[in-house]
Symmetry: C2
Subunit: 94 residues, 2 copies
């Protein structure tokens, strides 16, 4: 079974649109590599984390910021499709 990416977001913080945008970015790149992307309203205020199956790959609380899309695609790629080239998103941020 292909992996599931979950974006857990705080609905009271009005982060649904942000989470849905990131889900669409991931789907546009990884449609063939994942089972699906789950948008999960969090019961914890201020939470925004992204998991591949059970593995947390980005946690807003730890990082003190939201992920950039390029960074997020690299993080997801490294787990779900390590050999997959990402084109422009493969260049390291400077």
């Amino acid at each position: 079974m292909k992996p599931t990416v979950t974006i857990e977001y705080c609905p009271k913080c009005n982060w649904m649109l942000r989470a849905a945008y990131m889900a669409q970015e991931l789907l546009s790149t990884f449609a063939d590599d994942v089972y699906g992307i789950t948008l999960q309203p969090s019961e914890t205020s201020g939470k925004y984390n992204i998991r591949v199956n059970e593995q947390v790959i980005f946690d807003r609380k730890e990082q003190g910021r939201f992920p950039e899309i390029k960074e997020l695609k690299q993080l997801v790629r490294d787990v779900v499709a390590p050999e997959k080239p990402l084109g422009h998103s493969d260049k390291k941020a400077e």
Copy 2:
């Protein structure tokens, strides 16, 4: 555990945006009632169906059309939160 709603869509048919739009409509209404909404790229061409856990509540192939949002919210509500009032979306379509 709260139920998961899954929208399985055909990515080759360019239905990702439609699926993501419907997911956001459902999240704006059912954030407290569901575990999450999963966007699942289908491996079957032309597929667009919506499930609550394993139960199919709408299948484009069967209906010959996409669901309307009001209708979709009623279908989801009837399974995940039967007592929940939906305001304007509760009026029967004529």
